[in-house]
């Protein structure tokens, strides 16, 4: 049982990285950024490619994934979203473009790399025992990374001018613009950093459980759940949601069989959304 918990914390940490990235974009722009899944997959396959081409080392691989993620994020913002925003396109339009991009990237990767599940094997897969649980080194790494991320991001949000700007835009975009904040620049920064995290998450997933071209959608959905189900902008709560989600997945997989675990996840999502609606009946708009 403790093993299940430990596993949940580790995969929760992985999910938290992606979730926080998604949340950065979602809470500042209010857009359901499906392309987050595309960057996730891209990051994973970049990690694979780099390790097959240049040999594997965790820093190298994750750094390349993060760089590619960052650049992709900026490209997505400048080339895909910005023209639409300028035209005052509706949320639906933006969502559909994001979906389109996801489809293109996921299938493009499928063509180039094949449909099967790939995994970076060079990391030590032998779990080591401590405190009665067996964990691989990558799992521990995930927790460490997530921890560092949350602390540093929280610090940036709290203490830096950029953080202040981000919080302002999240609260009230109109007023922020009136006060002279450059919304376009902030969008670029947010998309860039969110996608950096997405790429990193993808890379970690490639090392931990392996990836296939179409897992990006699932990863993005789980990330979005962490942000939307409770609707909290707090990084800690998003991370906690991630761990809870993974825990529930682990437990249901254990009891009912692995094939039901994703269904269970989304059942929980529905329950959470409903509870949120009941608690907040005057705010009827989703």
């Amino acid at each position: 049982m403790i093993q299940v918990l430990a596993n949940a914390i580790c995969s929760g940490a992985l999910l938290a990285v992606g979730a926080i990235g998604f949340g950065l974009v979602y809470f500042t722009t209010r857009h359901f950024h499906i392309a987050h899944g595309a960057v996730f997959t891209l990051g994973a396959y970049v990690a694979l490619y780099v390790s097959y081409g240049f040999g594997f080392s965790v820093p190298l691989v994750s750094l390349s994934a993060m760089i590619v993620g960052f650049i992709s994020g900026i490209a997505i913002e400048r080339l895909l979203y910005a023209p639409l925003i300028r035209r005052k396109a509706s949320n639906e339009t933006v969502l559909l473009s994001s979906l389109g991009l996801y489809i293109v990237v996921a299938n493009g990767i499928a063509i180039m790399a094949g449909d099967q599940n790939l995994m970076l094997r060079q990391v030590s897969q032998d779990p080591f025992q401590s405190f009665g649980v067996a964990l691989t080194s990558i799992q521990v790494l995930q927790v460490v990374i997530a921890f560092v991320l949350i602390i540093s991001l929280a610090a940036v949000l709290r203490f830096s001018r950029l953080g202040l700007a981000l919080r302002a835009v999240t609260e009230n975009p109109g007023l922020s613009v009136a006060h002279g904040l450059d919304l376009d620049r902030i969008r670029v920064i947010v998309l860039g950093s969110g996608s950096l995290l997405a790429g990193l998450a993808g890379c970690l997933a490639a090392i931990d459980t392996g990836v296939s071209p179409h897992i990006g959608l699932r990863a993005m959905l789980e990330a979005s759940v962490c942000c939307l189900a409770v609707g909290s902008k707090s990084l800690l709560i998003q991370a906690a949601m991630a761990v809870t989600l993974m825990l529930l997945q682990g437990v249901t997989g254990w009891w009912f069989g692995v094939q039901w675990s994703s269904a269970a996840t989304f059942l929980i999502v529905m329950v959470l959304l409903l509870r949120r609606a009941k608690r907040d009946p005057e705010n009827r708009l989703g």
Partner: protein, 288 residues
């Protein structure tokens, strides 16, 4: 080119894309669970006709009822949600139902699906040739189009679209959002259900892979490309959905990667449409 088969698929996708058009094109609700109604109905029809020996029409009716029940469930759960949370809810529903279909092996046959489904029979006449079946499908689609042309520009549609523009103002004029949402979802599910029954009856074999979230995404892309908010747009979308793969097959692109290439084309079309022509090719409602 297998013309009867193409006609049947055209009819099916006209129904599916029009169904989404009701919910999204007029009502503004992005739904990524259309394949749920499609699949639930296909499986119900398959089970009733193949394992219980029912004839087609009663099986289709019951499939429609089952699909509407699912729609009612979705409606009651999603009552307070619009926009992003609604999308998330539909995706959740889709994933859950896909998993059930895949894993409830006793009822659905799991990954092997259900095979040997008899063809459609109308009032005792078995429609055995492909052309007869195509005629059946076309008639159903035509009936749907007649209903949709009545739907378009009706007071119901006017109120439904008003709720989309400003729900509070619509309520202040006496419009009940619950009624409109439920009825629209049920209507959409019924259209999708007919498509599902048609698919099961005419292809003789169904399995879970035809009813996943990829299919829902596909229907959404078809609507976005064809255009929404009128009767023509979904027709164009359905045509694109059906003819593009056929054309690709003719040109024989890529072999094993054909499916992926097709998807990429749809993705690109989606991006291009949203960027340059949010009305779609033939639509009424500017999504921007």
């Amino acid at each position: 080119m297998d013309f009867p088969h193409i006609l049947i698929m055209l009819a099916i996708y006209t129904l599916l894309v029009s169904a989404l058009n009701i919910v999204l094109g007029y009502g503004g609700m992005i739904s990524l669970c259309q394949a749920v109604f499609y699949g639930v109905s296909a499986y119900t029809t398959a089970i009733l006709t193949t394992w219980l020996g029912w004839s087609s029409i009663p099986a289709m009716l019951v499939s429609g009822i089952v699909a509407s029940v699912v729609a009612l469930i979705l409606g009651s759960i999603s009552m307070h949600f619009r926009g992003n949370r609604f999308v998330l809810l539909t995706i959740s529903l889709q994933v859950i139902v896909s998993a059930i279909v895949l894993n409830w092996t006793g009822v659905t046959g799991g990954t092997s699906g259900i095979s040997g489904i008899r063809g459609p029979s109308v009032f005792g006449f078995m429609l055995t040739t492909k052309w007869e079946q195509a005629g059946f499908a076309v008639v159903l689609a035509a009936i749907a189009l007649v209903l949709l042309s009545r739907f378009h520009d009706s007071p119901y549609q006017r109120a439904f679209s008003a709720i989309r523009e400003d729900q509070l103002a619509a309520q202040s004029l006496g419009k009940n959002p619950k009624y409109f949402r439920f009825s629209a979802l049920v209507l959409a599910s019924l259209f999708s259900a007919v498509a599902g029954s048609l698919y099961a009856l005419t292809t003789g074999f169904i399995d879970p892979t035809s009813f996943t979230i990829d299919e829902s995404v596909f229907i959404l892309a078809a609507l976005a490309i064809g255009g929404s908010g009128n009767v023509r747009g979904p027709l164009v979308g359905a045509a694109v959905a059906v003819f593009l793969p056929e054309t690709l097959r003719l040109i024989d692109i890529g072999g094993g990667s054909a499916a992926n290439i097709r998807q990429i084309l749809y993705g690109c079309a989606l991006i291009i449409m949203m960027r340059f022509r949010p009305k779609g090719l033939a639509g009424n409602y500017d999504l921007s």
